[in-house]
């Protein structure tokens, strides 16, 4: 009997007859397929494509200017995501005047939706191809609904209401889920900012050295400026890394050092400098042969051959300039920072932390005469490279998606002493409020 054979004659006839048979599919099938795989691959670019049923629903909805909100279906689990459903050929026109109770319209096109479905606490991604969804508008209830048949043939009702913004709430017999159309584009990852700040500079004496303490008692911090350009790259929604190039100057005023000019004619200069001034940041050597220095009070602060018992500036008729000298150090900074966004609102708050590599580019000691600088010399044995740690709080006010105003109170602490001389252990710190604009791209 043929039934018991593996193969019946008719099996072979059909198998061979249909083996290489081809039938051209309807032309729009490819468009639908492409739509779905494109949605999956490049969700961001999808917004601009053809006409998006979901977006249109959104627009339609918001043009209705509905004030009331309806309560959403109970026990719906909320899931995020994706764009976008698009009709393949014809843009479904679903806009129309709101009618008293409800308005229903059949959209004669297909739409693809990617959504995440939460089922049994697992999130699954689903691609849905909706054919001819029925759009129901409930103006009084502030909602729109999409009625369509899903793959498995169970009717699905997607409700759209104002309280959920671009969300769809969907009900199904065995699962309940929400589709949130995510209209927010992935933010630009790069940003560039120009920032500047007045900087208050001071230092800690971590060594507890008595002499240094004494020296520091006559030293005053000065306000200086720093600024530069910063680049940052966004790694995730909240975290970005930042670098850039800054120029910063630190400085201090040393009291009790009288300076005179006109010393050169008496200068029986031996060696390369006539005076040495001790400061907490290191020893200052005079480079200007015309300058004469004397200390008020403690005489031990200045090392020189021209002590008061040897040379009297008044008798020599030197011209008195000032009783203070200023030390200045300028650095080019290369920061490596991490920003963490704590609050992401109209005004964003960021925590900023990291380290900076500081390259010493200028080192000068001067005093002021009639508002202009009178050079005295420079501080010896400074570390050419120092490392500082940075801690800041960034406030970012977004004017637009691209442009924002940044204000960043920043505290930095120098991890190694500014001076390379042994014995000094003074760590400067500075506080500045950086402000500037940043541009994202």
């Amino acid at each position: 009997m043929q039934l018991d054979n593996r193969e019946s004659n008719i099996d072979v006839v059909f198998r061979n007859g249909l083996k290489d048979f081809e039938v051209n599919p309807p032309p729009d099938v490819w468009d639908n397929i492409h739509l779905v795989i494109k949605t999956k691959q490049k969700p961001v670019l999808f917004i601009s494509a053809a006409a998006s049923v979901v977006i249109l629903l959104g627009i339609t909805f918001f043009t209705y200017q509905m004030g009331r909100q309806i309560s959403s279906a109970p026990d719906n689990t909320v899931i995020a995501i994706n764009n976008e459903s698009v009709s393949s050929e014809t843009s479904p026109s679903i806009a129309g005047p709101p009618i008293a109770s409800k308005e229903s319209k059949q959209v004669s096109s297909n739409a693809a939706i990617t959504l995440k479905v939460k089922r049994d606490n697992k999130i699954e991604e689903k691609n849905l191809l909706i054919s001819s969804p029925e759009v129901i508008v409930f103006p009084e209830a502030n909602s729109l609904a999409l009625n369509f048949t899903e793959r498995r043939n169970s009717p699905v009702l997607a409700i759209f209401n104002k309280s959920q913004k671009n969300a769809f709430r969907m009900n199904n017999t065995d699962l309940q889920y929400t589709l949130v159309n995510n209209p927010k584009k992935v933010a630009e990852r790069w940003s560039v900012a120009a920032m500047a700040s007045p900087t208050y500079y001071s230092h800690f004496n971590s060594g507890g050295n008595e002499i240094t303490k004494q020296l520091m008692s006559t030293e005053q911090p000065v306000i200086s400026y720093s600024g530069g350009v910063a680049f940052s790259y966004k790694i995730s929604k909240r975290v970005s890394v930042q670098s850039g190039l800054y120029y910063a100057s630190l400085g201090q005023v040393v009291d009790g050092i009288n300076s005179y000019t006109g010393f050169q004619k008496y200068g029986y200069s031996k060696g390369d400098h006539n005076f040495e001034v001790l400061t907490s940041n290191g020893t200052v050597y005079t480079r200007n042969a015309d300058v004469f220095l004397s200390a008020t009070g403690s005489t031990g602060r200045i090392n020189t051959n021209y002590t008061s018992d040897v040379f009297d500036p008044n008798k020599a008729n030197l011209q008195y300039i000032n009783s203070t000298i200023r030390q200045n150090f300028s650095y080019v900074e290369l920061p490596v920072l991490v920003r963490y966004k704590i609050i992401d609102k109209a005004i964003d708050f960021n925590l900023i932390g990291g380290i900076s590599y500081n390259l010493l580019v200028n080192n000068s000691v001067y005093t002021m005469v009639n508002g202009s600088k009178y050079t005295i010399g420079e501080t010896e044995k400074l570390n050419p490279l120092s490392v500082s740690s940075t801690l800041g709080m960034g406030m970012e006010y977004n004017f637009s998606e691209k442009l924002s105003l940044n204000i960043e109170p920043t505290l930095r602490y120098y991890l190694n002493p500014i001076s390379g001389s042994t014995g000094t252990n003074v760590h400067p710190y500075s506080f500045g409020i950086f402000s500037g604009f940043s541009y994202k791209f």
């Binding site: 099996d11 059909f14 249909l18 048979f21 039938v23 099938v29 490819w30 639908n32 795989i37 793959r151």
Partner: protein, 186 residues
């Protein structure tokens, strides 16, 4: 690299041209398969669509072992099967008891002159359950045991569905060829 491998890699990289090329090359053959598994065109079209979406989504799993066409065909058949499973409760199989008597008839049917299109139409006219079992057994080469798992029926049902499908097919073929002959003579 073979051409198909190039196209597959292009698809994986998201290249639209390669995706379309892959579709254009294989759609007609796979659509014929979809039609074979479905009684109505709308459903066949859905199977093709969903099947291809799965093909693209799972392309990275194709290991370039065995025929690519066979791999795509399997996905398409599975899609048809899923669709069938999700709605098989909706179908009612015709009462076929009388036909059973014809089982034992020797197969002396004249198959000559039947074109692929005729065969396709005949197969599509089968009740869905018979069509599914016949397709899986006779065309795809699955055993009754495998089919019983795939379609969620017993092996016995699979066997009886197959034999009933064969009987119906034979009868339809007879009437087809009869008509064709008439026309040829007339």
């Amino acid at each position: 690299m073979s051409e198909i491998k190039k196209i597959i890699n292009g698809c994986l990289a998201g290249n639209r041209r390669d995706q379309e090329l892959l579709y254009r090359r294989h759609a007609a053959k796979l659509y014929a398969v979809c039609l074979q598994y479905s009684g109505n065109d709308e459903e066949a079209r859905d199977i093709l669509q969903e099947g291809f979406i799965k093909i693209f989504e799972n392309l990275d799993r194709y290991k370039h072992e065995g025929s690519f066409e066979g791999w795509m065909r399997r996905i398409t058949v599975n899609t048809a099967l899923e669709k069938f499973r999700s709605r098989h409760n909706l179908y009612r199989v015709d009462d076929i008891d009388q036909i059973q008597e014809l089982d034992a008839e020797p197969d002396n049917t004249d198959y000559a002159g039947l074109e692929a299109n005729d065969l396709l139409n005949i197969i599509r006219e089968l009740p869905p359950k018979y069509r599914m079992v016949f397709n899986l057994y006779a065309i795809e080469g699955y055993s009754h045991k495998e089919i019983s798992h795939m379609v969620n029926i017993s092996e016995g049902t699979s066997k009886s569905n197959l034999s009933r499908a064969r009987v119906i097919l034979q009868r339809r073929v007879c009437s087809y060829t009869g008509i064709k002959k008439k026309f040829a003579i007339g």
